[in-house]
Symmetry: D2
Subunit: 117 residues, 4 copies
């Protein structure tokens, strides 16, 4: 873990919306379009693992720096669109993540779900 992860959510949120606003792209960022964009980038991320066995997929990022770079860029694209959607919905990313984790915590008690889905 590096220093950057000490960055606050609000700083990243602003970087994402500044990028969008510098191009006047807010007009394209309807929630319908952004939900499609998240799904499209998620599929591009998935594409890297499409034909690999689980163990090949596990070692891909470790052993192949170029593949790793491509994978983290796709992950970044998903995150950027998620932050864009949070922005237009005016919701607080930290709050919705913590709320959902709390809800999941109640739904999946650790003693019943340890080691199994």
């Amino acid at each position: 873990m590096t220093l950057n992860n000490d960055m606050t959510i609000i700083v990243l949120q602003k970087a994402v919306s500044d990028f969008r606003d510098a191009r006047d792209w807010r007009q394209f960022h309807s929630p319908k379009n952004l939900s499609m964009s998240i799904a499209i980038e998620a599929a591009e991320l998935m594409e890297h693992f499409q034909w690999l066995t689980t163990s090949e997929a596990n070692s891909l990022a470790e052993q192949n720096p170029e593949a790793r770079q491509a994978i983290v860029e796709e992950l970044a694209d998903v995150l950027i669109y998620c932050f864009s959607l949070a922005d237009i919905l005016d919701c607080d990313i930290a709050e919705i993540m913590l709320d959902k984790l709390a809800k999941n915590n109640a739904k999946y008690p650790t003693d019943q779900y340890r080691g199994r889905y």
Copy 2:
């Protein structure tokens, strides 16, 4: 914007990995499976806007508090899996987002892309 968005990425990252480890779910979190999970949750998010016109989708979250709550929970699920994947790839979320924004900044000069994709 609220106080929570001042939370650092590292705090959220830890909340996500603690949830996973309390259930011993690290074993299921291969990059292949997590990329599928991100795509599955993205589709559940998209489902809320599937049959709506753009303008109906725009007003859905504003006018229907229950729909808004369901939408932000799906968005939170996508984010939680993104953080989970970043964790097993040992990558820095702030860094990869800022790097990708810088790359996109060079790829889409503001004077050429203002108001159009």
Copy 3:
């Protein structure tokens, strides 16, 4: 293979469009919405294999008749929306599949791609 697979595409295409028209749902079937629907049903199909290893996924349909039934129903949903999209684009399913196979045939010569992607 059973007798049903001797059914012509045109008969299935008509069954799909009759179902839609009996409910006056043509108005919702824009290509944008149908492409989302195909992706959403594809994700529901994927959900059955999300946490399974490749070998668990391989045996799931064989060993678990209920899971098999659920899986083929999701596959049917994807196909139904694909036929719906072909209908509104007024394209011939057999033709586009055979054309794409011919194109792929030229792109992936058998001597170069045997046993590897």
Copy 4:
């Protein structure tokens, strides 16, 4: 509708599996991988409509022959992988589509669902 749509499902199914077997790709076609492939191609299809309004998306295929060609090729890719999955699950495409339409017919009575989802 053209002559080709009089083609039987079984002929298309054989064209798809012959293409695969000529490259010895059956080994990669696990249900888990094929479900990912269907979702990935579905996302590539969706990408054509990502930033368009509903009405722009409606007219795209009609007014732009190149876009139409690209769209039907993506649709063909989704269909080819669906046929591949049906093949390894040894299920009858016509049967599963007609069964699902019958089930949907019972679930969505025409008098209750006319003109609304």
